[in-house]
């Protein structure tokens, strides 16, 4: 089992490498020049030429590729063309910020999604179920950038109760530890809500459907016939079976969350990988783009592996089925 996952992980890394290579050449062949922003009357063409030389941009693409690849495998992601700083340094700041946002949204996503879905399925066709269905449908269909703007309009501009951007207040020097924590949480609420709750609505719909399917099974009728309390039937007999597709969907939602973070971070000026990536693409900051993609891809692959492990743990039939064929 462990060997299987290690092998899969290595295969995935190989494929990520291939995709990154393709991306590298796509980016270099694309029209647009990272030095274009130095096209300014005050900067002499000579300086630009020297900078180009220094960054190795005057070399043939193939040579650039091998130099990039050579340093990449040693963990050196190169130097940002825009900030003129090591990409590693930029990532050291951006990754924790993005993780904070993503983990907060993942938490909201799972807790809200699973609970709404289960209660809706258990109380099928009740008022609660209908309301949840309607609200889920709405949240699932809302563009995140629009929801973000509306929440900013309401909570930040009209009511003034929640900050509309950044990770913490500009001046935090006078705050105690607890106040700083509260300040950061208040900055986290809107972006995490936008990112997590919209996806939670989708999860709730899946969870409800999955639970309803499971609740029709014979073994549920048997469990009920044995006189088990309904809560136990739901949690032990139904939930574990209904959670199997949910585990896959959660794994699938990781790139969705990270991709959604691009837009959410942009709107809330959140200093994470998403904002860094968008700016890097606009300015053709190749090393940053490639490094962020690598990091995000590894995160997603790990998430998928975790989901598959969960899948196997929850349903031993699948594990043995895989081995059988």
């Amino acid at each position: 089992m462990v060997g299987y996952f290690i092998r899969r992980f290595l295969q995935s890394l190989l494929l990520i490498w291939i995709v990154l290579t393709i991306t590298f050449f796509l980016m270099h062949l694309a029209p647009g020049d990272p030095m274009a922003r130095y096209d300014h009357p005050d900067i002499s063409p000579e300086t630009v030429r020297m900078m180009r030389e220094q960054l190795g941009l005057d070399r043939p693409v193939l040579e650039q590729y091998f130099r990039w690849a050579g340093s990449f495998v040693t963990g050196d992601f190169g130097t940002s063309l825009r900030y003129n700083r090591p990409v590693g340094e930029l990532l050291k700041v951006a990754i924790p910020n993005t993780l904070r946002l993503t983990v907060a949204s993942l938490f909201l996503y799972m807790v809200i999604g699973i609970m709404l879905g289960m209660v809706s399925a258990a109380r099928r066709y009740s008022v609660f179920d209908r309301m949840t269905t309607v609200i889920s449908l709405f949240l699932y269909s809302v563009p995140s950038f629009w929801l973000a703007l509306m929440l900013i309009l309401f909570f930040s501009l009209k009511l003034g109760v929640l900050p509309s951007s950044h990770i913490q207040s500009l001046d935090v020097s006078g705050l105690s530890g607890l106040q700083l924590f509260a300040d950061r949480i208040s900055h986290l609420i809107l972006p995490a809500f936008v990112l997590g709750v919209a996806s939670a609505a989708g999860l709730a719909r899946y969870m409800r459907g999955s639970m309803i399917d499971v609740l029709k099974e014979d073994y549920i009728r048997t469990a009920r016939a044995k006189g088990l309390p309904e809560g136990r039937v739901l949690m032990k007999h139904a939930f574990r079976n209904a959670a199997i597709p949910i585990v896959t969907i959660m794994g699938l939602s990781l790139p969705f969350l990270l991709g959604g973070a691009v837009i959410v971070e942009k709107i809330f000026s959140w200093p994470g990988m998403g904002g860094l990536m968008v700016d890097a693409i606009y300015t053709r900051d190749y090393p940053v783009v490639l490094a962020i993609n690598f990091v995000v891809a590894v995160m997603v692959i790990l998430g998928n592996l975790l989901a598959d492990t969960g899948y196997a743990l929850l349903d031993p039939r699948i594990r043995s089925g895989r081995r059988g064929r």
Binding site: I16, V19, L26, Y140, F145, W146, L149, P255, G259, I263
Partner: protein, 315 residues
Amino acid sequence: MKDENRNNDSLRNDSLNDDSLKDKSLINESLIGGTSLWSSGWSRFRRNRAGMAGAVIVLCLYMIALLAPVISPCDPVQHGDLPAMRHNPPSVAHPLGTDKFGRDVMSRVFYGSRISLTVSLLAVVIAVVIGALVGAVAGYSGGIVDAVIMRTVDALMAIPRIFLLLTCIALFSRSILLIIVLLGATSWMGTARLVRGQILSLRNKDFIIAAESLGAGSRRIIFRHLLPNTMTVMIISATLRIGGIILIEAALSFLGLGVPPPTASWGQMVFEGRDVLLGAWWISTFPGIAIIATVIGYNLLGEGLKESFDPVQFS
């Protein structure tokens, strides 16, 4: 060919003319058509209120898109008299207000539907066809083929799609066709995974083993036995994806990378209202509501279709 048609027609006419059978026309039709699953599903769908509501919403949106030049009060790209017309709140003349160029927001919302509807529909067709084929081949073949295909899918899903889209849009010159193809080509992986999962659970069922032992080839098994049984998954998947594609197209426009201005697109309109949220809330609000209505319409439609055409759930 002609004979066959006439034959069918005459059978249908017979059944309709026969009074004793008229009440049971539903059963009749399914017997004659030979497609009982579809016709009974269709009759169930017509009784599904949420699904029908979705169908009505989607139809209305297509009507709006088609009739945009007729029903729009103003020209969507014509600038109004500035500064008198700038940021006018909703009024009788401009039911949804005007934007910073004095353009009528309502007309722009109507015209914007053309972009969302065309792009998403074509993209989802591309996505589901690729996804179903890839998923079916992977799930049915198993072994090394499955492993190679699914690891490729994993790797593709691991690359943030928005980045792939942005790179390609930067690489090629921006056009609607490019966005359609890109959205389709980056949307099939989820469908492939779901279809594969479904096929894994079906491939050891008795009817597949029976078909195999009768000597059916793998192509026949995939297309005749497996894929029809994954219809539910494909429909759910297509529905969820068409909503998602509309949202991504809007997000691209919001980032300024969709169809180039001054063509009206909803995402771009939301972006244009961003800086004047407090003073002119209508510019961002109404295109957003249009996006939500479209996505909700498609979701309701898909759910309705799922409930109606899912033979397992209603057996």
